[in-house]
Every structure is written in C-alpha cells, then in structure tokens.
Symmetry: C2
C-alpha cells in the first residue's frame, strides 16, 4: 500500500487533507507542488489531475481530488485508523451539513480575500506576456478567470460582501460551539478540520475588523484546542515555502 | 420508525431526495409545502427548518436538510434497503466527486435559469408592498437577494454565462458516460439521481440551443434509462401543483 499526497503550503486546501493523514497516523509520501512556480498547471501535474489543482491523493494509483472527497475517502479506505467521522447516521449528517456550508459558503469567501491579498501579489509579479501564457495553460475556466481577477484586484464591494459572509459564518460557528465542543457534536471530525483549514486557524489575522477575540470567544478556545492536537501540529509543521512578502496570514512579517 | 418528507413539486431539490425514498422502498409521510404560497417561509415551516427551504427529512424527530446530506443519510440509516451508494472507497469517492460538481456547478447555473423563468413569474405576480413583506420574512440573506433578482430579472450576461456552464457540464457527463453506464461507475447511484433531478430530466426543454439530441446522445440514452426506473417513475408521479403558466419545463403548454 502506498499513499502519495501532492500539496502546497500547510494552509487552506493543502492543509485540509494533510490533517486527516497525520491524525490517522497514515504513512505517506509528500510531494510538494510549488504554486509560486505555477507547477499545478504544468503538464506533469495536469497528467495527474486534469483540473490542475492541489491537493491530490494517489492511493496505489487511484487518484482522488477535492479535499472533502479525499477526506471521506480516507475514512472509507482506512476504517482501522482513528476515525474522524461519527459512526451514527445523524452524526454523519451533521458533519456533512457543516462540510457543505464550509465548502460552498466559507471557503469561497475566505478564498476571495486570499486571492486578492496573496495570489494577486504573485499574479502581478509576472510580466504581461508571460502572464497571458500562464493563464492560457490553466485547465479550468473558473480558475483562469480567478487568476485574471486576482491580477487586476477584486472590487471593494465584492471584498466587503465576502467579509460579511465570513461574519455570518463565524457567528454560526460560535452559536454551534455553545451546543457542543466540536462542530458536528461531541466528537472531533472532518467538519472541524474543514473550518480550521479554511478560516478558523487564521480568522483573527485575516479579518481583524471582526474583533474575533471578544466577538467569538468559543471559536478562539476551539481554535486553540485544534492547534494543540498532535496531528494538527504535525500537519502545520510541514515545510512552508511561502515567498517573502506573502506571509501576513501565517504570522510572519510582510 | 416514522419518516416524514417535506417537499414541493417533483423537480429539482424536491425530486432529488424523493427518488431515493422511492428507490429504497421506504415508507414515508409526504408533506406538500406550497412554494406558490411561500409556505417555506411561514413560521410553522421555519420552526422545522430555520433556513426556510425544502426539502426536509424528519426521521423520528431528527431533522435533516440539504439534499446531498439527506441522500447520504438515507444510505447510512437504511443499509438494508437497496443501496444507492457504491460499497467501495473508490466508488464512494467517484460518486462524491460528481455530487460536488453537480451541487456547486450544475445546480447553481440551472437554478439561475429556473429562477429567471419560473420564480420570476411568481415574484412579479405579487404586489410591491406585499413582496417587500414576503422578502423580509426569508431567513437566508442569499435567498432574499435571489428573490429580489428574480423579480427584476437576471442579466443577459449572467444567463449566457450560466448556459455556458451547463454546456461544459453536459459535455463532461457525455464523456463520462462513454466510460461507464452510470456517472460513478457500473452502478446506479446518488450521483445519477443528482444530475437527473437538477438538469438531466429536462435539459432539452430548458436549453434547446444546446441541441442535446445530437450533441450528447449518451446523455439522452442515460436519461431514458433513468426515467424508466420504477423508483424514478414513482417519484415523478408525485402530485404536481405547478401554477398554470409555469409548466414549460415539465412539458406542459404555457
């Protein structure tokens, strides 16, 4: 049995499936894909994932893409490793409700700020002619549009709307954490990992205007419980090659 | 054990979880929610689903919302009923990959045309003062915005973009059906049900400009195999109270 994980820095999508791999204690080969060099759109990588996106899991030649799908796959394929999915129908439904909310609501709006602040810096760092060529090579139409928008910058109205959506999400999480210790109930699950990787781990740094420390104290306590988990800490400890000048969110000086 | 299913007409979301209930032969109480009367935003319904949306499954008091979550719940809760989920990790991953694509890509863009052509007629049929009151009562911000846009009409550019996304989706499905009889492999699964309910059952009627009959013959054959299944036929046979003038997509004259 060989597991290979193609990923970038330990944040967002790449972190989201790295945490389950570490939490479940699975032995895997790490393959770093350098997004600063646009390696995810290179022919060698597109041959693995035609959508040109990280992360990718290769399990004995079976290719799995999209983090929520990868994470449920790990539960199905390695039932003897510590579970991150409740073993009741209701628990699974609660977990999947949150995963859906995070995938379709939280992720897109955090991502807009991420693309504006970080990917924009990368996109604007490329010469015009070269940028056109890079964009042409991107397999997915949506991703091509996102790169172009990142280069020109998202509108203030779109960014403000995204921040408002994040505000709704953190309030929703705060309310849920008043009911249970973890998002889907009394058990730490893939839903917690999902929210942490996309938003929870860095929400204070990304959205200082939301005043997270006083607004959502249960979210802060939950975030600290997450960060303290050995599996999460191991995932966060994976190499971070973020280019200088792009480290605001991971706590480094710009 | 009692199952109660709150739903509207047998199309889109309401059809999507009705098909598994029928395919699995589960005994359930059907509760019709009249969207023409905005019952989904009435206090009695919002007390059941605070998001004010159909369908909802009530299983002995456990409330499950969002069709993809409901459908996986039915698999977890009724493992002895005929399965609609592959029993291999790879099969489940393929099914979930498609469900994600349909939920996040197909559904939203078909839905835009649906809201433009059908919900817009309903929204414009309400007096202005009354409409403001109805919109105020909608729990989700996104849904409030959608109702307002439906009333004024979506832009031609947005609608054309949505059609282009559907074009990508039907070509993707056609390619997949060249590999397998069903979307996730050799087995009929929740992924087929998802695509059928949101797009496949009516793609020719909705998007005549896509020339489906000659463009995607495998999709047409698949759609006919779907429609012929007794469980699908039973779901499609549920009462349809669509208001006169709104039936274009279900084949009736306007």
């Amino acid at each position: 049995m060989t597991l290979k994980y193609y990923h970038a820095e330990p944040v967002a999508n790449s972190l989201k499936s790295m945490i389950p791999l570490k939490e479940k204690g699975l032995d895997f080969e790490s393959v770093y894909v350098d997004l600063h060099k646009f390696e995810q759109h290179q022919p060698w990588f597109v041959a693995i994932n035609p959508e040109g996106q990280v992360p990718v899991l290769d399990h004995d030649g079976t290719i799995i893409t999209h983090t929520t799908v990868i994470n449920e796959y790990l539960e199905d394929a390695f039932p003897d490793a510590p579970p991150l999915r409740p073993n009741t129908p209701e628990g699974n439904a609660r977990m999947r409700y949150w995963n859906k909310f995070i995938d379709e609501h939280v992720m897109n709006f955090v991502s807009m700020h991420g693309w504006h602040r970080m990917v924009g810096v990368i996109a604007r760092g490329v010469d015009s002619g070269e940028f056109e060529k890079l964009v042409e090579r991107i397999p997915l139409h949506e991703q091509r549009e996102k790169w172009k928008t990142a280069r020109s910058g998202f509108s203030e109205a779109d960014l403000a709307n995204a921040t408002r959506k994040i505000e709704v999400a953190v309030d929703k999480v705060e309310a849920q954490l008043g009911e249970n210790d973890w998002l889907a109930g009394e058990m730490f699950t893939l839903a917690d990992i999902n929210f942490y990787a996309h938003c929870g781990m860095m929400v204070e740094r990304m959205f200082p205007e939301l005043d997270i420390a006083t607004r959502t104290p249960r979210l802060v306590a939950w975030r600290d419980r997450m960060t303290a988990r050995p599996g999460v800490a191991a995932a966060l400890g994976m190499p971070d090659h973020t280019a200088p000048g792009l480290r605001t969110w991971t706590g480094h000086a710009r």
